[in-house]
Every structure is written in C-alpha cells, then in structure tokens.
C-alpha cells in the first residue's frame, strides 16, 4: 500500500518542473506515501499537505513549518509546470481550464488559480496563472465493503442511497468504491453485479484521461464524463438501460428533477451530498423534498473522527432510525 502510494507520488512529480521536482524528490520516504496536496503559488514557498496538516519544503527536502526556510516558487516554475501538466498543449485543455482544473493521467487533479478572462460565452480562459494545486488521487479499494450489506436489498436490487459528509471526509472515495463493488458483483451475497451508469459531472469519480477511467470503476460501469446530471440522466435512461445511476454532489433543483426521472424509470440511485446531519439536509430546500418523500432508503453519514472516511451512522429512510450495527 505504502509502496504504491509512493510510486503514485513519484509519477505525479513528473508533471512538476525539473527544479522543483528535484527538491520534492528529496522529501522523507514515509511522507511521500501520505502527501495529499502539493501547492505551488507564485512568489510563495512550496506547500504540501499530508495527514491534514500543511508543511513547507526546504531546499534539502525537509518538511518544515517555518516558511522562511522553504524554497520560493517563481513564475517560471509555475509556467513550466503548467506546460508539463497540459502536455505542452494548453489549447487542448481549453474546456478543462474554463472549469478551473485539469485531470492528469492517474486521475490526479490540478486546480488552477490566476486571472480569469470573460468572453461572450462566460469564462474564456485563465491567464497569468499564479497558483496550482495538485491533488493526488488515492484509490482506496475496499473502503465500501463494510457498508455494502446495508445497501443491498435482496440479492438483486439495492436501496436508493444518499451519502452525506463534510468536505475531505471521503465521500467521493466511498462512492467510487461502492460503484466498483456493485458493478463487479458480490459473490458473498450471491449477487452477479449491476449495470451502473455514472454521471461524472466534475470528473472526480472516474478521473477520465483520454477517455479511459483512471480508477477501477468495475466491470459493468458506463461513464459520462463532464456531463451535467440532467442531460446525463436522459442519455442513460434512453439507451444505456442502467440498473443503478450514481452521481456526485447533488443539490440543485434540476438534480432533484433528474432523480425523479430516474425513479420513474425504475432505476436505483446512489448519490452524495455535502452536509453534517439530517437536519442540515432539511435546511436545503430542494433536498428536503426528496427526504420528505422518503425517496432515499439509506443515509450514510461520514466523518473523520477516526481518520478520513469513518462511517458515522447509517440511517433507514422510512423511520429515520439508525440501523448501524
């Protein structure tokens, strides 16, 4: 596991300019496996996040909390790194840049900060890039194994499920692993696997690179990358005959409409949403409708009390009582 994570880190470094790469290669081996984010800001020290804390990186690769010991990132570093990230082809990533991030091979995402230029059709491009945030994607195979038995209804169907968690608590990771499990099938439950349609609006779930998902999404999964939920729902229902549709980060009124469409077609839904408690969700108008209509039968709450992805509670959707054992 640690070995894999370390290799992932070294692969990500290939997208960073030579000078900074040399420094970042020198950081302690045990830290390499745990790095979650590498942040480069023009004129500021190199900043890395691991285990929820941030550190600066000194010339000799030592992680420090003292900013003055760190190496400063300059404009040339940023522009060279950006060239490597975009594979020397900024023009090929126009659409991605408009959305504020680029996905790398391996499903890692690079967020972009800079001067945003508007054209007649909304954001045109980002110029004078001043900061880059490289988020290292870590696939956690098997994180959903504990919850899967709460979701399965008889061997061959599932409950409509909503995963609720604050940011950075592993909601996307657990959804991704649920998709993989449901799609591959669960021999232990005598389940042969479902046809899963994934609407990956923010390209976070599958991490598509050149049309290939960079994470294991299972054997029976179809993916619409970068597609909005409403269009994606219609496209899936029309011709892909999914048994489950999965989507990340629901919230808007049109998302709720899409979910109604999906239910009308007799297809099951798994979705995630930002939030802490059930009351939290009631305060969001469009979502409270879904909850009152008892559409979701299972609510999975995540937190990070015992590390990222801790399962806080699992609530049954008709009686709103906990069924977590």
């Amino acid at each position: 596991m640690g070995e894999d994570d370390r290799r992932t880190y070294e692969n990500v470094l290939n997208h960073i300019c030579l000078e900074l790469r040399k420094i970042l290669k020198k950081i302690p081996t045990e830290a390499k496996a745990n790095i979650e984010e590498i942040r480069l800001r023009s004129g500021k020290p190199i900043n890395v996040y691991l285990k929820g804390k941030d550190y600066f990186v000194a010339q000799d690769g030592i992680l420090t909390e003292k900013a003055e010991r760190s190496v400063l990132v300059n404009e040339k570093h940023i522009s060279d790194t950006f060239q490597l990230i975009s594979n020397y082809s900024v023009y090929a990533f126009q659409e991605e840049i408009k959305n504020g991030f680029i996905t790398l091979r391996g499903g890692h995402r690079v967020g972009i900060g800079g001067k945003v230029l508007y054209g007649s059709k909304g954001i045109e491009t980002i110029r004078n890039i001043s900061s880059l945030n490289i988020r290292i994607a870590k696939e956690k195979i098997g994180v959903s194994n504990k919850v899967i038995r709460y979701i399965l209804e008889y061997p061959n169907t599932i409950y409509n499920t909503l995963i609720i968690s604050p940011p950075q608590c592993g909601k996307t990771t657990i959804l991704r692993d649920l998709i993989r499990n449901l799609s591959d099938g669960l021999p232990y439950f005598k389940n042969k696997g479902f046809k899963v349609g994934v609407i990956d609006e923010r390209s976070e779930l599958a991490g598509m690179y050149n049309g290939v998902p960079q994470h294991n999404m299972g054997l029976r999964t179809d993916i619409l990358d970068g597609c909005n939920k409403q269009d994606g729902t219609m496209m899936f229902l029309r011709a892909m005959s999914p048994e489950i549709i999965a989507m990340d980060e629901i919230g808007s009124t049109s998302d709720v409409e899409s979910i109604h469409e999906i239910l009308k077609a007799g297809v099951k839904v798994i979705a995630t949403v930002h939030g802490d408690t059930l009351e939290d969700l009631f305060s969001k108008k469009s979502l409270s409708l879904l909850i009152k209509d008892r559409i979701f039968k299972r609510y999975i709450f995540l937190n990070n009390s015992k590390g990222v992805g801790t399962i806080g509670d699992i609530i049954e959707g008709d009686s709103f009582t906990s069924i977590k054992k």
């Binding site: 522009s79 060239q83 594979n87 020397y88 082809s89 023009y91 045109e124």
Partner: protein
C-alpha cells in the same frame, strides 16, 4: 603525355564545377526547405486549431505527414521535449539549431523565425495559437521571396564561377 594532360584538365574542371554547383545549390535548397517547412507548419496549424491534438502527438503527425527531408526536425523536437521533461518548449526548439543551419541551409534570420514558433507553441488557447501560427507563416512567405531573389542572384553565379574557374586554371596551366 597528351592523355595525362587531358585527364588532369578533366579532374580540375570537374572539381571546380562541383564546388560551384555545391555552393549554388545551397540557395535552391534553402528555398525548397522553406517551402517544405511552411507545409509542415500548416499541418501543425490544422492539428492544433481543428484537431486540438496534444503537442507531442501533433509533432509526430507532422513528421509522418510532411516531407521527411524537413519534417525530421519536428520529430527531433518532440524527442527532446519528452526526454528533457523540463516543461520548456523553446528549449527543445533551440536544440535543433544545428541541423537547421547545416542540413537545411537556413540563414540566421530563418532560424530566428522558426525559433519564435517555440516561444508561443502550446502556451495559449486555440484562437491565440492560430493567430501566432498565421503570423509565422506570413513571415516564412517573406523569407521565401527573399530566398528566391538570393537564389536567382547567386546560384547561377556560383555555377558559372565554378565552370569558368576550372577553364581558367586549365588555360593557364596549358
């Protein structure tokens, strides 16, 4: 004796003629290569503006589609780019200055304009790339005109000079 004289004269004549043609040919080579490079950049324009092909792949495509006598330059740039991993396109363009000068007979001015391609390539959106490529293509057109004038002026001169020098040496020696 007469035979040896004849052989010697022939040797002198053919070598001076060859030197003349060699220097003369540089001018027509430059013109031909400028035309080929224009075609290559047009292929590049299509790849970028209509295909949005990533640069390394686009460079390989130029090598395959263009005239190999010139398009090898683009493959060299691609290889340098991928091997160096520096994120600096201009640096990789600079690495081919020598073959541009020696194999393609480009002048300093030609090289300068070709390198300017490396400064802009891949660093902006499609619209901007198109404008920059158009500008460079325009400049290459001017260079071609210049190369044509140079060729007309010098190629014949060097060829004639070669032949005449040969004859002059033979006459003096005989």
């Amino acid at each position: 004796m007469g035979f040896v004289k004849f052989l010697g004269s022939l040797l002198i004549f053919s070598s001076t003629t060859w030197i003349g043609f060699y220097y003369g040919r540089k001018y027509s080579n430059r013109l031909r290569n400028l035309i080929h490079i224009e075609q290559c950049i047009k292929i590049l324009e299509t790849e970028i503006v209509y295909g949005a092909t990533p640069l390394p792949e686009a460079l390989t495509n130029i090598y395959n589609k263009g005239n190999k006598k010139v398009s090898f330059i683009f493959q060299d740039i691609r290889d340098h780019l991928m091997n160096s991993g520096r994120g600096d396109v201009f640096h990789s363009f600079s690495s081919v200055i020598e073959p541009l000068r020696d194999k393609l007979n480009f002048t300093e001015e030609d090289i300068e304009i070709f390198l300017s391609l490396g400064r802009v390539l891949g660093s902006s959106d499609r619209h901007d790339q198109e404008k920059n490529l158009k500008l460079i293509l325009n400049q290459i057109k001017f260079l071609q005109d210049d190369a044509k004038i140079e060729r007309d002026k010098h190629e014949k001169m060097f060829k004639n000079l070669g032949i005449l020098t040969g004859l002059a040496i033979i006459i003096i020696l005989i």
